[in-house]
Structure formats: C-alpha cells, structure tokens
C-alpha cells in the first residue's frame, strides 16, 4: 500500500506550527551552545575542533572572495598616493629630520645600556623568533574584534603568542590550526593586557570594549598618567615580553582614560607573530621545578684541594675578624682613657708637678678600626 493511500493522506500540518517547533528547538540549542562554550585550561575553547576546521576551510575561501576588495583597495591607495605625493614627501622629510637626533641618542644609549648590562651581569631576555603573516579576514564589530592570519602550528605558532605590526602590538593568538590562526585584537571586549606608562613606570590594565580605543583601567598612583604618555607592555604575568609599544594615552569622550593604538595608523594586513610563550621559555624548566635548596643534597663532595682551599679561606676570614675586633677594643679603651674627668685631680707635691710625665699609651695615635667609627645613614646626614 502506497503512503498516499494510507490514513495520513489527508493529514496537514500547519506550517506556522512546524516552523515554531524548529524555532524553539533552535533557541534551546543556541542557549546550550552558549553555556557549553567555555575556555579550557590550555587556552582552547570547548568547540576548538569545530572552530579550527571551519577556519582552516574559511581561510582559502575568504582569500578568493576578498581578492576584488583588495584590488579596489590597492587602486584607492594608488590614487591617494598619486594625488598626495607632494604633501607626503614634505611630511616625511620633516619626520626624517626629527628622527636623526633620536637616532644618535638611541645609538649612544644602546651602547651605554650594553655596558651597564655587562658590568652588572644582568640576564637580558634573549631575542624572540618571529613569523610573518598575512591577515585573511577581520571582525570589527562590538562583540568580537579578531583576525584570521595565514600561519599556524606548522610554523610554530601557539595559543598566547603576541602579534605585532610595524607600529606596535596588535593582539595575541587565541586559536591555532595547522595553517591558519585566529588572533584576538587589543580592542576585543574580552581582551586584557598588562601595560605600563613609560614616563612614570606605573602599571595599568588595557581593557578592550569593541571600540577603536581600549580603556586603561586600574591605573595606580596619583598623577601617574597624562595625555600623550606612551603606553608599553609591562610583561607582568609573563604572557607578553616587556616594552612592546602599544599606544598613546588620551581622554575618552566618556571621561575615562583610553589608548590611541599605534597599530591603528594603517590597515593591519601584514603582521608578525612573536613566538613567545611566557617566561618559562627563558630559563631551564627543570631548574625552576627543582625543590628549594636541592643543591645541598645533590652537590658532590669537594676534592682534597677544594677542601684545603675552603679551609684556608675560612681561617683567613676568622683571623681577619679577630684582628678587627681587637683593634676595635683597643680604640674604645683609648677613647675612654682620653675622656675629660669632672672631679678635680688630687693635689700632688711640687716636685711631682715638674717631673716629666710619661704620656699615656692611650694618647698615641692608633689606627681606628672602620667598624668602630660611627657612620650616619644617609637620612641622618640630611
């Protein structure tokens, strides 16, 4: 018996009701997706597999569909460059003249800084390897500010890597597949970046809100911030290297402190991914994970020559300390003997007054032990 001959032949389901059922089920599904989309401990999201697969496919497709737009953009740039070449040339010449002085200062300061680092034995951060990337697509809305870039785990990119353009910090990598990565911009509503104010070294947190100029929050210290102050990454927390330029402080329309990002000076199409994870890559992880004072139980026994040298050094230190203590005691005794006595001296016979009196031994000049001389702390001197 065919289906149309059966009892369901004249069954008609209202379209509105079936659509309403789909709507209710879809809303419940969307709510469950929202609740279930959480960030895991390694920085991935619960649906990172789905996101990664989609982004791996969307990268090439987006590149093809965006080609005409890029072409139009390059034509616009060419037209603008043609008509504004003279004014641009003047501006660049003035800029070069201004930067020549800075260049000289920078060379001198770099030299002095290197000498200081060598003298003080500072452990400076090693050079950070970088990977150049091309932005494929961009999200600029109030709810998400992100970009897809065409490098991924195959080139060593990992979640958390900072991303810069030629002007300054842009954001950090939030998701990685083999050949495509997603980076969250500093302007994203979920972005938090520890920064410092270059002039005062005060700390703050750069908080994105979807606008072009992220907010500066938790600024510590009165007068720590002025309009025009340069903002750099502080490196606090270890997620970013210290000193990457971020932007310039400014007052927002709502009265809050905001940052005009250096990366806003042009389109963010080519970027560099810093293959920097955290401070853990700068040191030996095994040494960091060793228990405190682990060397006491693991160091080898000294050789006979080392033991003799150690004993000799200890004996020398002990003799030197004993010598200093003796000198200090002698100086104190001499000071006590030379102090004026308030009671009158006893009467002496006349011949005794004319007889030569040997000078007391304490009056002879003796070397003062450095430890016995009173010194003033700098506060006391003031």
């Amino acid at each position: 018996m065919a289906f149309r001959d059966g009892p369901f032949e004249n069954l008609k389901v209202p379209l509105a009701w079936t659509a309403a059922v789909v709507v209710v089920v879809a809303i419940i599904g969307a709510a469950l997706l929202l609740i279930g989309d959480r960030q895991t401990a390694d920085g991935n999201s619960t649906f990172s597999g789905a996101r990664g697969g989609f982004e791996a496919a969307a990268g090439p497709v987006g590149g093809v569909l965006a080609a005409p737009v890029r072409w139009v953009g390059s034509v616009g740039d060419a037209i603008g460059g043609y008509f504004f070449a003279v004014s641009e040339n003047r501006r660049l010449k003035a800029r070069i003249a201004e930067l020549e002085g800075w260049k000289t200062d920078a060379i001198a300061m770099k030299n002095v800084n290197a000498r200081y680092e060598a003298l003080l034995g500072l452990r400076t951060e090693p050079a950070i390897p970088m990977v150049a990337a091309h932005a494929i697509s961009e999200t600029r809305g109030p709810f998400k500010n992100a970009k897809l870039i065409d490098v991924g785990a195959a080139k060593g990119v990992r979640i958390g890597n900072p991303v810069m353009d030629e002007n300054g910090l842009v954001g950090r990598v939030s998701g990685v597949t083999g050949g495509v990565s997603r980076m969250v911009l500093l302007t994203d509503v979920a972005s938090r970046t520890p920064v410092l104010i270059d002039r005062t070294d005060a700390r703050a947190v750069l908080t994105g809100d979807g606008s072009d100029n992220p907010r500066l929050e938790f600024v510590r210290g009165a007068g720590a911030l002025q309009v025009g102050d340069r903002i750099l990454t502080s490196g606090d927390g270890g997620g970013l290297p210290r000193g990457i330029p971020v932007g310039v402080a400014a007052k927002g329309r709502d009265g809050s402190w905001r940052v005009k990002l250096f990366s806003d000076r042009g389109a963010i199409d080519y970027v560099r991914v810093l293959l920097f994870q955290d401070f853990g890559q700068l040191v030996n992880p095994g040494a960091l994970n060793a228990p405190p004072l682990a060397g006491l139980s693991t160091a080898p026994e000294p050789t006979a020559a080392q033991a003799a040298a150690i004993g000799d050094a200890a004996a020398r230190r002990q003799a030197q300390a004993q010598n200093q203590a003796d000198r200090a005691r002698a100086a104190n005794a001499a000071a006590a003997a030379a102090a004026p006595v308030s009671t009158p001296p006893p009467a002496r016979p006349p011949q005794a007054q004319t007889a030569p009196v040997p000078a007391p031994a304490a009056q002879t000049p003796t070397p003062q032990a450095p430890a016995s001389t009173p010194t003033l702390a700098p506060e006391d001197e003031r």
Binding site: A19, V23, I27, G62, E138
Partner: protein, 172 residues
C-alpha cells in the same frame, strides 16, 4: 482547448538558499582586512534581513533551520561565542512568526518600524549575552557602528517581501 500555462514555482531554492549564499558571500567580502580611503569596511549582520523577511514571506521549517545555520556561520567566521547569533536571529524569527498576522498588509514606515524594533532587540540581546560572558560591557559607539549598517539593509528585506510574498501560487 485550454493552453497549458507555465507555472513558475518559487521554491526554497529561490527564497531561502540563494539569499543565504549571498549573505554568506557578502559577510566574507566585508570581512576583508583593508581600509578604503582611511576607513574600515562596515560589518552589517546580513542574515538579519533574512530573519525579518522569511517569517513574513511564509512560515517554513527549512528557513528556520537555515537561519540557525547562518547564525552558526557568523559565530564561527567572526570568532564570537558559539550560539550568540543563532539565538539572536531565531529570537527575531520567532517574534515575527508570532506577530505575522499583525504585520500582514502593512508597508512603508510601519514595516520599517518593525524591522528597526526587531533589529534593536536582537542587538540588545547580543549585548547582554556578550557583556555577561566577557564580564565587560561593549562600547555603545561600536554597537551603533554595527546597528547602523544593518538598518541600512532594510531595502533588501523590503524587496524580498515584495518579490517572494505570495509568490508561490500553491499557497494562495
């Protein structure tokens, strides 16, 4: 003798699938990271047009399911919380599905007023969800910067209603 009359059937391919593909393509194209004359490209929510026009054209399970898929596409392409735009688009679709009898026969300002109200409602819902998830309220200026281009798309929604509403003679 009656002549055979060619009946043009407007099926789901015409009013559901093709507009969906167009919305996806437009979203990808406007996601290009370039600046034209110093300005970024706008980023409207193209599926909002479909969420407004589809329930008024005809209630359909296929359209509702496709709208859900479009919302998922937006979340995946834009990198937002998964489920955000499906929720907002389905909310718009559901409200218009319930109130389509009220809107029947209305045109012009009243229709635009409904488009404005439902769009603002969807963005308000998205704003609340994102603020709750991120623990940080998005900028109102940035919000307006996405609402305005979405509202400008109203003529497309109006054209779809004029073109496809009552277009399938099987539903007369």
């Amino acid at each position: 003798m009656r002549r055979p009359v060619a009946v043009r059937v407007v099926g789901p391919l015409q009013w559901v699938v093709y507009p969906s593909l167009a919305a996806i393509a437009a979203t990808i194209v406007l996601g290009t990271p370039i600046q034209l004359f110093g300005l970024n490209l706008p980023e409207p929510v193209f599926p909002m047009v479909l969420a407004f026009s589809w329930p008024l054209i005809r209630p359909s399970m296929v359209a509702a399911a496709m709208l859900f898929a479009l919302g998922l596409f937006l979340d995946l392409f834009w990198g937002g919380p998964l489920g955000l735009w499906p929720l907002c688009l389905m909310a718009v679709y559901g409200i218009l599905l319930v109130s389509r009898n009220l809107l029947a026969g209305h045109e012009g300002l009243i229709r635009f007023g409904w488009y404005l109200a439902t769009t603002l409602g969807a963005f308000l819902l998205a704003y609340v969800v994102v603020a709750a998830l991120a623990g940080n309220a998005p900028s109102i200026y940035a919000l307006i910067g996405q609402i305005a281009p979405t509202l400008i798309l109203y003529p497309i929604a109006n054209w779809m209603l004029e073109r496809f509403d009552d277009g399938d003679i099987r539903f007369r």
